[in-house]
């Protein structure tokens, strides 16, 4: 599992990302997710590149599939990809595209790119894993975790709100949504009780919701491991605005 390997350094991830060129349009998207991905794969997820089909593995679903450079860099740093593959990314013969394809890369749980698909799929996988009652250790009391990463602008898509409501009613304790908030939603998500309303969208549907600094690794780890025994967990990771 990931905790047995030495921590990956930030500079190592930047070096790996620098190998991938040609998608500068999405560099803001790529860097917004970098710290969340770094913490997830270093400290939270139980995944093993030697056993990508392990039924007891955690599932990480990158719903915000554009700008996947940080994702590929983290996968390479953790042994799911060879570093040499990063250089020719997005070529016709490459397994690594501008949007990831699960059928090409073991360890990539979903093909994504069109917004609003990851969270509904994650709800289905969480329901399925819960039904199968796969045993895991005391650090994962609800079985394998399903963690899905969405963006604040991605939440414009209505399909997400179908999923947020239903997951809350079903009390999916094995589901975590990480919302990377770089204030890129065109009409914003104003809050009633707080500065950002993103967490409130989840709270009112019965989720536990925590807003943290998306660049603070310790705060991210604490939030991602927060108890949520009878309900799904949303972690809103705030980063610098896209246009700043």
């Amino acid at each position: 599992m990931t905790i047995t390997r030495p921590p990956v350094t930030r500079s190592e991830l930047h070096r790996l990302m620098s190998l991938m060129t040609g998608d500068e349009k999405h560099s803001a998207a790529a860097t917004s997710t970098l710290d969340v991905l770094h913490v997830l794969y270093d400290r939270v997820l139980h995944v093993d590149p030697a056993r990508p089909d392990d039924p007891a593995r955690d599932r990480f679903l990158l719903s915000k599939g554009h700008g996947p450079m940080a994702f590929y860099a983290v996968l390479a740093a953790h042994g799911f990809l060879a570093e040499s593959e990063l250089v020719g990314w997005a070529d016709h013969g490459s397994r690594l595209g501008l949007h990831p394809d699960r059928t090409l890369i073991p360890g990539v749980e979903i093909g994504s790119g069109s917004l609003g698909h990851g969270l509904p799929i994650a709800v289905g996988t969480a329901l399925g894993l819960r039904a199968r009652r796969i045993a895991t250790g005391p650090d994962r009391p609800h079985g394998p975790r399903v963690v899905v990463l969405v963006g604040d602008a991605e939440l414009d898509e209505g399909s997400n709100h179908e999923a947020i409501a239903y997951a809350g009613r079903r009390g999916l304790a094995n589901l975590t949504a990480v919302v990377v908030d770089n204030a890129s939603a065109t009409h914003g998500w104003p809050g009633v009780w707080s500065e950002t309303g993103l967490a409130e969208r989840f709270l009112v549907e019965g989720w536990r919701a925590i807003t943290v600094d998306g660049r603070d690794h310790d705060a991210l780890e604490l939030a991602l491991d927060a108890a949520h025994h009878d309900r799904p967990l949303a972690v809103v990771a705030r980063v610098e605005p896209k246009d700043s």
Binding site: R102, H117, G124, L127, A131, S159, E162, A163, Y166
Partner: protein, 313 residues
């Protein structure tokens, strides 16, 4: 425990009981799951089934995008999902979910629709989906079943659930008088002058129209327009009189959008000149209510309408 319905009276009933049997079946390894969006959730035997299997009968409410997305996630977790609603809400509204959450992920599922082209004849455009098979046909890898009898629906649903891959089962209230089992194109009657292919519930009407036409036509029947039985069509064409076999007329009668199968007939007969007559529902929206019989007449899918379009050479 469940009890299989001895004689289902409708295709919808046949489907629901077949799904219940698959979920109850201990030999199925608990891999079958039913995902609903309110439609049929209150119909026998579903409420009792859901009480027995709360983890494997999932009603997401009136959320069809989520219904298909959840099915995709369940498939990734090793399940065989059955997804169900009225055709416009099962196929057209969540089209991108069918494309991406199932197909693109390499996942399988069984999608079962009711309503057909105009079972809800007086319901108007919102509850009618004559384009559904054409829409599904734009996506790779789908098998399409259009049963013409509840017993066929029972068999096709059971086989689809026990199998793999992506399967669309299009149920209708209209049926033929008797079931006709068999894979691909089944020869119902052999003629010498041309071939008529009847899909699903159109068969009885086609047989009546052919009989009253006085023409010597081969009638083929299928419940499975995709993948299309090109080998069976070529064999039927070869069995015509030599002058017709060399340049046949093939009439397709489909209970959905006319011309949906033009592509596959053209591919099957690309080695010879041939004429296609494509019967089905018209493309234009009628803005009319009424019974299914009214709509059949308006689309030329009654005995008179089909008979008037039959070609023998």
């Amino acid at each position: 425990m469940s009890a299989t319905l001895a004689l289902p009276t409708t295709m919808r009933e046949a489907f629901l009981w077949a799904a219940a049997d698959a979920i109850d079946d201990p030999a199925a390894d608990d891999r079958v799951v039913l995902v609903l969006a309110d439609i049929s959730a209150g119909d026998d035997p579903i409420p009792a089934l859901a009480a027995r299997h709360p983890d494997r009968v999932l009603n997401v409410g009136i959320r069809e995008q989520l219904m298909v997305g959840v099915a995709g996630g369940l498939a990734l977790a090793g399940f065989r999902p059955i997804v169900h609603s009225y055709a416009p809400f099962a196929v057209e509204r969540p089209y991108e979910q069918l494309k991406l959450d199932l197909g693109h992920q390499g996942s399988g599922a069984v999608l079962v629709s009711i309503g057909a082209s105009y079972d809800v004849g007086s319901g108007g455009r919102t509850h009618q989906a004559p384009e559904d098979v054409g829409v599904i046909d734009t996506l790779p890898g789908w098998t399409v079943h259009v049963p013409g009898h509840p017993e066929e629906a029972d068999r096709l649903v059971r086989d689809a659930v026990a199998g793999e891959g992506l399967v669309y089962v299009r149920l209708s209230e209209a049926t033929n008088a008797a079931p006709h089992h068999g894979a691909g194109l089944v020869t119902v009657q052999q003629g010498r002058d041309g071939v008529v292919v009847a899909v699903g519930r159109t068969l009885d009407t086609v047989l009546e129209a052919v009989a009253s036409s006085g023409r010597d036509l081969t009638v083929l029947y299928t419940t499975t327009p995709r993948p299309f039985d090109a080998v069976g069509l070529r064999a039927a064409v070869e069995a015509l009189a030599p002058e017709h076999a060399a340049a046949p007329t093939v009439t397709m009668v489909e209970p959905y959008l006319a011309g949906t199968s033009a592509r596959v007939v053209a591919e099957a007969l690309d080695d010879r000149p041939h004429r296609q007559v494509m019967l089905g529902t018209h493309r234009e929206e009628s803005h009319r209510y009424g019974t299914r019989a009214d709509h059949d007449a308006a689309h030329g899918l009654d005995v008179e309408g089909i008979g008037g379009r039959l070609w023998s050479s």
